[in-house]
């Protein structure tokens, strides 16, 4: 069982370029999330999806967009990357979109915007 996979593992990107971070889960979880983690800090929620076809904004959504066309995939797009988006990005999923439900995290994508 793979759980959650993320791609790419790392990426160096020029400012102004468009980038899509991929996230796929094979647990048939309803809810999925994108977080960013800056050096030495905790995780901050960017966007979430409670179920396929729906998305919502988290704590720091500006500059990012998401889509949830099916249960398994939840891509995160940076339309025009800026250096402040340099971070480690984690995708997560949970069976139900409730605060008590355990979230399972992917291995992360390390993004550097120059």
């Amino acid at each position: 069982i793979a759980g959650i996979t993320q791609a790419p593992t790392s990426q160096i990107l020029a400012a102004g370029r468009r980038m899509t971070l991929r996230c796929t889960q094979d647990m048939r979880h309803n809810a999925m999330y994108w977080y960013r983690q800056d050096l030495g800090l905790g995780l901050r929620l960017i966007h979430y999806s409670n179920t396929a076809g729906t998305t919502g904004k988290g704590e720091v959504p500006d500059g990012y967009s998401v889509s949830r066309a099916n249960t398994d995939d939840f891509p995160l797009t940076l339309a025009s990357a800026v250096p402040s988006q340099t971070s480690v990005y984690f995708c997560a999923s949970s069976s139900k979109p409730e605060s008590a439900d355990t979230q399972y995290f992917g291995p992360g994508t390390r993004l550097t915007v120059l």
Binding site: A31, Y33, G42, E59, F90, S94, S99, A100, T102, F105
Partner: protein
Amino acid sequence: LAKTTQPISMDSYEGQEVNITCSHNNIATNDYITWYQQFPSQGPRFIIQGYKTKVTNEVASLFIPADRKSSTLSLPRVSLSDTAVYYCLVGDPPGGYNKLIFGAGTRLAVHP
């Protein structure tokens, strides 16, 4: 939003018991308290969850007093591999989505 406060860092030695206390004064009636563990270059991993009193699993124990305004994660006989960042989280008020608030966490260093 239910925010949490926990120590920034702790040091311990192999074989000792480690207790990490987290305060969450604004916890809502329906909120659960959840602890995650994060190793370097990895995503967080669920450790334990509770609502009140005491919960124990194969990894840790969680102690929650009656007022639920704090909780203590207890790691028995830590080893070097327990060196990680530990996050205490409480859920948003009822009706919200699963928006767990990750603070800076507690960085635990276990020494030989």
